[in-house]
């Protein structure tokens, strides 16, 4: 007799499972479809160079510092420089600021660069030569950025620098207590390792005619920056003791000239003014900054202003000089108090003098730091200029075919290192397409993730890291670097703190909550695969994603496709 439980024509004789439910394709229930859809975090859009911040943070979290460095380099060949001197607009838009404190992106960038001082560029940066040649005039951040990007595409690059050392404003303008020169040298040497040639002490138009460049090179990029100080155009500007702030910085930084007076007044509110003030105070002077608007409008980086004040710099706001007084030599400055009126074109309130508020202060040296303009007299005739800068189109090209411009010498975003790096990169992309006759492809950002799109249930409030710094008293006695960066543990902590808005961190939240076990890890461990045969479209994964890296879409849209 057969077993009573033996199957009958393949069917069990009693209620017993012989299979799972894989034939029940519950995906047919779905009318909404979850998809992995990475979006733009505000920091990436906020960074002019477009550094992929959450992505390199992810590498930092894995302690893959070299890979993180390589990723930053893609967009910016000067992370060591920017990690020290950038005014970090990325942090200003960071979503975390509305939760606890903005992420210390700036410090992390420096941390990554500092981890790689002993490393050189990866092999993949060394491209096959195209045979095309580009001349770049100026070795500042714009020129270096463009040279790096062009060299990575295989184009031969020669940079002409009028000064004795490359680096432009980074070399002549920025004090060493903010940017030690070995950091700059390291990054310039890295760029040179790609075959970029930098010819110093060569001013175009003086040491070498423009024509020679246009005969030799397939394209020319003007990246001379803004090095000419703007005059005040008030009486007494020709007195001895009235000079340009940038000239002081250049002479001190490059020629080590230390002979300055005791009572120094600096006119202006930008980073040059602060750099002059903090350098002068280190040389033993009493320093006063005169700025015509209030602190709120001051274009210098707020941290820098605070540092300057802490170091003893006096700042007089809402005040403007109207005359430099002296007998051949500067003795006094006549000032007038200002008040803020209607906003002007750039949105800042225009300062208006208050009648009868004039007063005088004593000074034996004045440094003008009210802005710099490019010196473009070397350009051939016919190159259009706009407000004293090369007039370029959306592709950084002037009306003269093959002549491009970027950084402060071109119209567009100006004034900061990272803007220069950004336009240099942009110019390089345009030049590459010009040289290779291919379509230009700039990065277009999609939807930017807003604070209200972050799932705050997944985050707890935590303090932002603080950068280490040298002793306050000691820093005033020398030009050693004030800030010392952050420790590895702080870097890891801070990278972990990042929301990673719109960028998947492989946190598994989607996978863990799927009631239908329809999400699996991708075989390479990078990302996930949704099994649409079973996904019922409940939307839990999308709803729970801490960082809005997923989107819920109408199923119909996919069915039609």
């Amino acid at each position: 007799m057969k077993d009573a439980l033996e199957s009958n024509n393949g069917k069990p004789v009693f209620a017993m499972s012989v299979t799972d439910m894989h034939k029940n394709k519950t995906g047919s229930w779905r009318y909404m479809r979850p998809i992995y859809d990475e979006k733009t975090p505000p920091c990436i859009k906020g960074c002019p160079a477009g550094e992929r911040i959450p992505q390199y943070f992810a590498l930092v979290k894995e302690k893959r510092y070299q890979d993180a460095w390589h990723l930053i380099l893609e967009d910016n060949p000067l992370p060591g420089v920017c990690g020290r001197v950038c005014y970090h607009p990325c942090e200003g838009v960071c979503n975390r600021k509305d939760f606890d404190e903005t992420i210390a992106i700036h410090n992390l960038e420096r941390f990554v660069a500092d981890q790689n001082v002993g490393n050189s560029f990866p092999q993949r940066f060394f491209a096959e030569k195209t045979g095309k040649k580009t001349a770049i005039i100026g070795s500042g951040p714009a020129g270096l950025s463009a040279a790096f990007q062009l060299a990575r595409k295989g184009h031969a690059v020669t940079i002409y620098e009028s000064l004795a050392e490359p680096g432009g404003m980074l070399q002549m303008g920025i004090p060493k207590y903010r940017l030690p020169r070995e950091v700059l040298e390291k990054e310039i040497n890295d760029i040179k390792s790609l075959g970029v040639e930098i010819i110093t002490n060569t001013e175009i138009g003086k040491d070498k005619p423009w024509q020679e460049l246009s005969d030799t090179f397939d394209s020319i990029l003007v990246a001379t920056g803004a090095t000419k100080s703007r005059p005040m155009q008030i009486p007494g500007e020709d007195l001895e003791g009235v000079s340009s702030g940038l000239a002081f910085l250049r002479e001190f930084n490059m020629q080590h000239k230390r002979d300055i007076k005791k009572k120094i007044v600096i006119i202006g509110g930008g980073n040059t003014a602060i750099d002059c003030a903090r350098s002068a105070i280190r040389l033993g002077a009493y320093v006063t900054i005169i700025y015509r608007r209030s602190r709120h409008e001051m274009p210098a980086v707020p941290e820098e202003i605070a540092e300057a004040e802490a170091e003893g710099v006096k700042i007089i706001y809402l005040t403007n000089p109207i005359e430099f007084i002296g007998n051949g030599k500067l003795e006094k400055i006549k000032l007038v108090q200002m008040q803020l009126g209607q906003p002007d074109a750039d949105g800042r309130r225009r300062p208006v003098p208050i009648k009868g508020s004039e007063f005088e202060i004593e000074a034996d040296q004045v440094m003008l730091a009210i802005g710099e303009v490019p010196k473009l007299d070397f350009l051939p005739e016919g190159v259009h200029e706009k407000w004293g800068r090369v007039d370029v189109d959306a592709y950084q090209m002037s009306n003269n075919k093959g002549v491009f411009a970027c950084g402060d010498s071109a119209n567009g975003p100006i004034g900061t290192v990272v803007d220069a790096i950004a336009t240099g990169k942009r110019a390089a992309i345009a030049i590459d397409s010009y040289l290779t006759n291919q379509e230009t492809e700039f990065v277009h950002y999609g939807k930017v993730v807003g604070f209200n799109e972050i799932n705050l249930d997944y985050f707890k409030k935590e303090k932002r890291v603080k950068q280490n710094r040298n002793n306050q008293k000691e820093v005033l006695s020398n030009f050693n670097e004030v800030h010392l960066g952050i420790s590895e543990s702080d870097a890891l902590y801070e990278a972990e703190r990042c929301f990673s808005c719109g960028i998947c961190t492989y946190c598994d939240t989607c996978l863990i909550y799927c009631p239908d076990v329809a999400i699996t890890k991708a075989p390479d461990g990078k990302g996930y695969i949704i099994n649409y045969e079973f996904c019922k479209g409940c939307g839990l994964c999308v709803h729970e994603c801490p960082r809005n890296a997923m989107t819920f879409e109408e199923e119909l849209k996919w069915r039609i496709v």
């Binding site: 077993d3 009573a4 439980l5 033996e6 069917k11 069990p12 004789v13 009693f14 209620a15 499972s17």
Partner: protein, 404 residues
């Protein structure tokens, strides 16, 4: 053992070769010893008079280590049955016992045991159902479980209780259906009789270790009892019916096998007594059978061609068997210690239905007697026989000794 049996002159009743010990015990203890001999591994029960002594004895044996089993003292009969269902699902031989109200409470779980194809064996002490309270013999409790898919057997003696519980496991584990062994309250449950306890090794030889083809097993995981939709449920019921039909065929075979090993045979689905030339026949089940044997002997001595048919199995119902026996008889009296309100005695109606497709239809009278433990004496049975002889037309329901 053999020597002492012979010394006491008991060898004609008990086979000295197969008996380990003869004990004077009540029916409930016979059930307890049977469970022990069947090497039951899990016992679960809830006390109810007159089943309690089964449980007490088992507790004692489990506590002393005489019996190696888990004893789970549950909080209701419903749970007692659910517990053995759980244990059986893992392929572990299990036992429970109940009676009356307890059996009624188990009703849902009785169906579950069958549907899950679990060879549970249970002793039921036939006791009347309330209200009003009554703790004495009445078969309506088990017969009310007619359609639960349980194989039901009714014992006449304590020895039969013991032997049938052992045989029940053998049968249940072949056909994968549960078996209920019934005994009358007090007349069996609390009546002491000499019972031969067979040698353990012979029981082991008759009843192999239980190892079902499918069970709860982490190395071969299945879900048991999942939703069966209209497209599959009917076939699953058909399969149970087929197994019930297998049981019908196997019951006498198992009895024969038991006889070969242990040396006793209580019959198949029915037992015939003095039926060869009988013109009149009494049909009984349970303890009334024993009383009826005496009446048959007495009346036969007076020349009446009277026979006796004992129904041992109610499910599966011995349709073929009764057809072949009853077709030759003139008049038949069915005695029921049970009642289906609005109809008649339950054995009677089953029997009557079984004969409908028979060519020869004898006169059939249905007698209801002894409800709620009232005595059914030889006199009562004589009255029934006399009434039967005088009957000219069959009657479905005749109340015996009613005080109205």
């Amino acid at each position: 053992m053999a020597d002492s049996l012979i010394a006491e002159g008991l060898e004609k009743y008990f086979n000295p070769e197969t008996t380990a010990e003869v004990k004077a015990i009540e029916g409930t203890h016979a059930a307890s010893y049977a469970a022990k001999l069947a090497r039951v591994k899990v016992v679960s029960a809830y006390p109810i008079t007159p089943q309690t002594t089964i449980v007490e004895k088992l507790s004692e044996m489990c506590a002393s280590g005489e019996m190696e089993a888990e004893f789970i003292k549950v909080e209701s009969e419903h749970s007692a049955m659910a517990c053995v269902i759980g244990a059986e699902s893992t392929g572990t031989r299990s036992f429970t016992a109940t009676s009356s109200q307890g059996l009624a409470l188990m009703h849902e779980e009785l169906h579950w045991a069958t549907g899950a194809r679990l060879p549970v064996v249970m002793a039921n002490v036939n006791r009347a159902l309330g209200a009003p309270w009554n703790i004495w013999a009445d078969q309506t409790d088990s017969l009310a479980q007619r359609d639960t898919g349980w194989i039901q057997c009714y014992a006449e003696s304590n020895q039969e209780v013991l032997d049938m519980i052992i045989q029940a496991y053998r049968l249940a584990e072949i056909v994968m259906l549960p078996v209920m062994v019934n005994m009358d309250a007090f007349f069996l449950s609390h009546t002491t009789e000499p019972v031969a306890l067979p040698k353990q090794e012979l029981v082991d030889q008759f009843l192999p270790e239980y190892n079902p083809k499918y069970k709860m097993d982490i190395n071969d995981p299945h879900a048991f009892g999942g939703l069966a939709k209209p497209d599959t449920y009917m076939e699953l019921r058909y399969n149970i019916q087929k197994s019930m039909e297998d049981a019908h065929r196997l019951i006498p075979e198992v009895a024969d096998e038991f006889e070969k090993v242990i040396g006793r045979n209580h019959g198949g689905l029915i037992e015939e007594y003095q039926t060869k030339d009988a013109e009149y026949l009494i049909v009984t089940s349970g303890t009334i059978t024993g009383t009826s044997r005496i009446v048959v002997d007495q009346l036969r001595a007076q020349g009446l061609k009277l026979g006796l048919l004992k129904i041992r199995f109610f499910r599966p119902f011995p349709v073929k068997e009764v057809q072949s026996v009853l077709g030759k008889i003139k008049k038949i009296a069915v005695i029921d210690r049970n009642l289906s309100f609005g109809r008649c005695g339950i054995f009677f109606s089953e029997l009557q239905a079984a004969l409908y497709n028979c060519e020869c239809r004898p006169l059939l009278n249905g007698y209801v007697a002894g409800l709620g433990g009232r005595d059914v004496t030889p006199k009562t049975i004589e009255k029934i026989v006399n009434h039967l002889i005088a009957s000219e037309k069959g009657e479905d329901l005749i109340w015996m000794e009613l005080n109205i």
